[in-house]
Amino acid sequence: MKKFQLHPCGNFYEDYEKMLTVFSTDFGRVWAAIGLVILFLVPLMPVSPYLIYVMNITGVAVIAAVGLNILTGFAGQLSLGHGAFFGLGAYAGAILGTTLHVPMLLSILGAGLITAGIGMIFGAPSGRLKGLYLTIATLAGQIIIEYVLIHWESLTKGTMGLTLPVPVFFGFRFQGDIPFYYLIFAFTALMIWIAINLIRTRFGRAWIAIRDNDRAAEGMGIPIFTYKVFAFAISSFYAGFAGALWAYYMGSITTEPFNIMLSVEYLAMVIIGGLGSISGSVFGAVFITMLNELLRLITDFLMNSAIGSHLGLTIAPLREFFFGAAIVLFILFEPRGLAEEWRIIRSSFRLWPFSY
C-alpha cells in the first residue's frame, strides 16, 4: 500500500509535475471524497424540499460561475454578458426540447454548444483590442441577446415564456427536486472536474500567460486571438449549459430574469469567490445564492408580518444594494476573495503551532 501523504510545512516541490497535481496530499483527496459522499446523501436525510431547491440553484450557479471565472479569472477578460448567455442557453435548451423534441441531456449539451458559438461572435472584437473593449462588446451582447429573446416571438414566444416538456427516462418521469438534485450534482461535479483539468493543460497556462502579460505571451508564441476566443467559447458553453439545466429544472422560463443584473450577480460571485480560483467560484456561487435567499426570506417575513409589511416593501431594493456593497467591499479589502481566506485558514491550521 502507498504511504499516506500529509502536507509538509514548506514548499518542497522537486519537479513541475508535483506543482500541477490537483490534490497535493491524500488528506485533501480523502476530504474531497467525503464531501462528495455527504452531498450525495443529503436528499436521503430528512431535509426540507426548500433546502434541496436552494442546493439545486446553487449547483447551477456554480457551473455558470466557474465558466465566468475561466474567462475573467484566468484569461483576464471582463464579461458583462454572462447573464444573457445563461438566458440564451436556457432558451436554446427549451427550444430544442419543445420544438425539435430533442431528449433532455442532448438538448442541454446542444444549448451549451449553441451558446458557445454565439459567444465566439461577441468575443471576436477581443482579437483587435485589449481588455476594456471586450467588456463593452459583452455589454452590447447582453442588450442585443435580451432584445432578440424578447422580440423573436415566433421562436421564443416573447414575454409569454416557454414551458418545457417533462423528460421521461424508461417510463420514469424526471421531475421534482430530488431527481434534479442528482442530475445537477453530477453535472456540477463533472464541470468542476473539467475546469480544474483544463486549467492544468496548455490552454490554461496560455490563458494565465495572456492575463499576466499579453505582450510577453505573444512573444512566447501563444496565438492570443485564438486563445482569447477559445476562452470566450468555453465560458459561454458553461453559461449555456447551466442555463439549459436551469430551464429544465424550472420547467418554464420567461425572458425576465436574464437582465444585466444577473450578469452583475455572476460577476459578484466570481469576484467574491476569488478571481483565478475554481474553488473560489464555488464559494462565490454559494455565498451569493445564500445572500439572495436570505434577503428574500427577510423580505417575505417582513411582508407577511402585520407590522412590517410596509417595511418589507421598502427594503426590497436593498438586495441590489447588498450585491453592490459585497462587490465593492471585497475589491477594497480582499481582492483575492473567499478562496484566499480559505487558504489562510487552511495554512494556519497546517502550520500550527509555529505559524511562520
Binding site: 483576464g76 471582463l78 458583462l80 461577441f122 471576436a124 472584437p125 483587435r128 483590442l129 485589449k130 481588455g131 476594456l132 473593449y133 467588456t135 463593452i136 462588446a137 455589454l139 452590447a140 451582447g141 442588450i143 442585443i144 432584445y147 422580440h151 499579453d214 505582450r215 505573444e218 492570443i224 444585466i260 443584473m261 452583475v264 460577476l267 459578484a268 469576484i271 421598502t314 427594503i315 431594493p317 436593498l318 438586495r319 441590489e320 444594494f321 447588498f322 450585491f323 453592490g324 456593497a325 459585497a326 462587490i327 465593492v328 475589491i331 477594497l332 481582492p335
Partner: protein, 292 residues
Amino acid sequence: MDFFMQLLVGGLSTGFVYGLSAMGFVMIFKSSSVLNFAHGELIAIGAYFFLIFVTWAKLPLVLAFLFTLFACFLLGILIERIFLRPLIGENLIFVIMLTVGLAAMFRGLILLFWGGNLYTYPDFLPKALGVDRGIVHIPPVYMATLIIGIFFLIVFGIFFKFFSQGIYMRSVADNQRAALSLGVNVRRVFALSWAIAALVAGMSGVVLGVINGINVHNLSAIGLKVFPVVILGGLDSIIGAIIGGLIIGVLETFTGGYLSTSLRDVVPYIILVIILLVKPYGLFGLTEIERV
C-alpha cells in the same frame, strides 16, 4: 420630407443630450482610463438632488441648480476618497469592477429612497428659448441643452489644452506610474476628474429629468447608452462624445420612425459591435498602435 426633417431635428436634439451625458464619462476615461459603469447612476443622483432642492427645499431655480452642481461635485470627491483612492496603482480591471459594484449600490439606494416612480420638475424654462419655425420645432429644453453643452465643450477644450491640471490629467491617463514618478499629484487629479465628471453627469441628469421625467430605471439606462456614443466618437475625445451622441440620436429616431419602434433601443448597440469590429478607436479617438 416633413417627416424626415422632424425626425432629423428630433434625433439631433436627443443626440445632443446623449453627447452631454457622455461628456462626464469621457472625462473620467481621459484622466484615469477607467470605464465608469456607474455613470447612469451619477446622472440619476444629479436629477434627484435637483428634485430635492426644487420641490422639497423650495429653493429658487438658479440657486437649486448651483446647489445640485455643488452636491454632485462633493459626491465625486467622496467617491474618489472612499472607493478609488485605495485602488491607485492596482490593476484597472478591479477599478472597473468597482464601478459596476458602485452602480448596483447607488441604484439600490435610490430605489430605497424614491422607489421606481416617475417624478417631474415644475415647468420653469422660459418659452422664448424654444425655436418654432415652420416644421422645425425645438422645445426650450433642447435649446438650453445646446447652450449648456457648447459652453462645457469650450470650457473642457481649454481646460485640457492649456491648464496645468488638465495636462496632468492627460498624463495620468497615459501612464499612471510615470506621472507619479514625475511628481504629478495623482490623488488630486483623480479627485478633480471624478468631481468634474459627477458635476457634468448631475447636470445632464437635470436636463434629462426635464425632458423625460425622473425615473431611476430610465436614467441609469442612459448610462449604458453612453457606451455606443463614446465608442463611436472615440473613448478619449470630448468633441467625439458630442458628435457620436448626435449620430446615435439621429440613427435612433430614424430607426424608430422608418423601421420599428422596438428596434430603436437596440440599434445603438448593434452599431457599437460593428464599430468595435471595423474602427475600434472610433471617429476621433487616439489610435494606440499596439499589436497583441
